[in-house]
Symmetry: C2
Subunit: 343 residues, 2 copies
């Protein structure tokens, strides 16, 4: 039985969509239990609306809620009875295998490191969302809050990202590339230039070299390695340019009677095509390298994305991803002779 703690209070549509997502997930899988974490009365009132296998959904009470605008470090320290802190403690105490939340990104990143803690040898846990491409999805690693990374961090990101893409998403020999401003090896800033030969020397990944940002939407690599500042810019610009263009297309179609009629005719086909440019079917963004798993879903995620994120946790556990990460880093520390204390 795999147990996933779900933040029932996080995100724009909590608790309704969280509850619906939990019910959808358990209706698909038998060997799955969802622990809905949050204000018991509110959650139970929502649960009453549905019929579901009672033994697969439990409520764990947490009286407080961390708001998205709260400073994360403070929020994690002070709101001990918040859904995020309670949920993460379930993972820490091995009472849950994973924690899923659509709540405050900052609090989730801080809590993941401080409460759940890192796997021995992991220098930094990266946040790794899937982004849509022409060909499917790519993993963008790291988009977290740890900026000013070192080359050794990026090498670990490449390894963890490869393991995730191969065993959770099911992609054989995922192509790993580093974000750069040109295709040639001598291009880049100091960080990229230092990291490039390390990735090239790394035997357990399929490193294909640099990737220019222009090529990312074309799906030219499966694991896209970057430090978090650049990763964050890529992730957010993706959403911004995509949203703006789709908005302009819709607006353009409404400018005349002729175009309005045309819009009615193209709408179904267009909807189908643009659905391909949406990564939410794969679930949320995992925070990798933790003793357990934390998944951040979009703040505006609906039941579908939440359900997919829960199922993603199940695959993560079944595939023994953390054991694979431990092995991969151990082989490295044996080689280099250094090891880091578990946090």
């Amino acid at each position: 039985m795999i147990k996933v703690a779900l933040d029932a209070m996080g995100g724009d549509f909590a608790p309704a969509e969280a509850v619906k997502g939990a019910i959808a997930a358990v209706s698909k899988k038998d060997q799955l239990q969802v622990l809905l974490v949050g204000q018991q009365e509110v959650i139970e009132k929502e649960l009453e609306k549905f019929s579901y296998p009672k033994e697969q959904i439990l409520v764990v009470h947490a009286s407080e809620v961390i708001e998205t605008e709260e400073p994360p470090v403070n929020a994690i320290r002070k709101k001990k009875d918040s859904s995020i802190v309670v949920g993460m403690n379930l993972v820490k105490k091995k009472e849950a295998d994973a924690f899923v939340s659509a709540g405050s990104s900052g609090a989730i990143l801080v809590g993941g490191q401080v409460i759940v803690g890192r796997i021995k040898g992991v220098e930094r846990p990266p946040l790794a969302p899937l982004i849509p491409t022409q060909k499917g999805v790519s993993l963008l690693i790291d988009c977290g809050a740890n900026v000013d990374a070192r080359p050794s961090h990026l090498v670990q990101f490449a390894k963890m990202g490869s393991i995730y893409m191969e065993h959770v998403i099911g992609m054989k020999y995922p192509r790993v590339a580093i974000v750069n401003i040109g295709a040639e090896e001598e291009k880049g800033n100091a960080l990229v230039k230092e990291t490039f030969p390390l990735l090239k020397a790394c035997k357990d990944i399929n490193f294909i070299g640099s990737i220019e940002a222009r090529e990312i939407p074309h799906g030219q690599a499966d694991v896209i390695v970057s430090e978090a500042f650049v990763g964050n810019v890529i992730l957010k610009l993706y959403e911004g340019v995509g949203g703006t263009l789709i908005g302009m297309v819709k607006q353009g179609m409404m400018t005349s009677l002729r175009s309005k009629i045309g819009a009615l005719l193209v709408k179904p086909a267009l909807k189908e095509t643009l659905k391909a440019f949406d990564a939410s079917q794969y679930g949320g963004a995992p925070l990798l390298g933790l003793n357990g798993l934390v998944v951040k879903t979009h703040g505006n995620s609906k039941a579908g994305e939440i359900c997919n994120s829960i199922l993603q946790c199940q695959t993560f556990k079944e595939q023994g991803i953390n054991d694979k990460i431990r092995e991969s880093l151990q082989s490295e520390s044996v080689k280099t002779g250094d090891a880091q204390p578990e946090q």
Copy 2:
């Protein structure tokens, strides 16, 4: 009379589109002379196809061509009789006010610094393309090849960008923002955190704080300050996501008979809307802070963009942008007491 040297050999459609662009520009402005730089015979053969005011278009022979794949530093050093080196030397010798090229970005950036040279006090000349937004255009500064910038560089970028947007594009009190991964002042990497208070203290710009990448396409700032690695990623991802989405929309419209009929009906309206999301009407990307002006146009630019780039050089000169940059940096060096030798 303003003189603009134009690389007749650079870009995918040289020399035909360069020649057409030059003719279009001089037909719009009397006080303008275009010096077509490149292989004389080839250019003259192209010119023969048109009638135009002979005294406004001259040919300056240059026997060599720098290819886009050549290592820039080498190319500039060795190909002394290339259209880029000859064109830039015209600016250096004050025989032209500006140089426009659709050729190798690398060679243009290197040549700008090495041949044309920086204005006294300018630490780094930034490449500053205009990018389309929902509301018009924003200046993205810097997208050049100088990575690993310092805070003082970014402050100069902000000043030069403001002057350009106000006096060349005609935007009053342009809003200046720094690219960041959150809106709060304490967010960011080391560079952004150090630069933020300097921009805040800068009296001659209208600094509005941080901008997240998601907000860039919404036009939330007019001058978007960033070091070149991040700027480059933004510029190229903009093109990549935009191109991919438009491609998918087109493809989606062709999937059924129904959608094909719809496509015919929406096409004119859509074309009109998407034209608004195109910055080429403003010309190419200026390399700012030089003793003169160098403008890089897209490698695939047609006559329209080349013509606009030439006209942009005229506005640049008429508005005395370089004098304004000198004044702005002088007031700074008076304050801080430091000055740099002219290169």
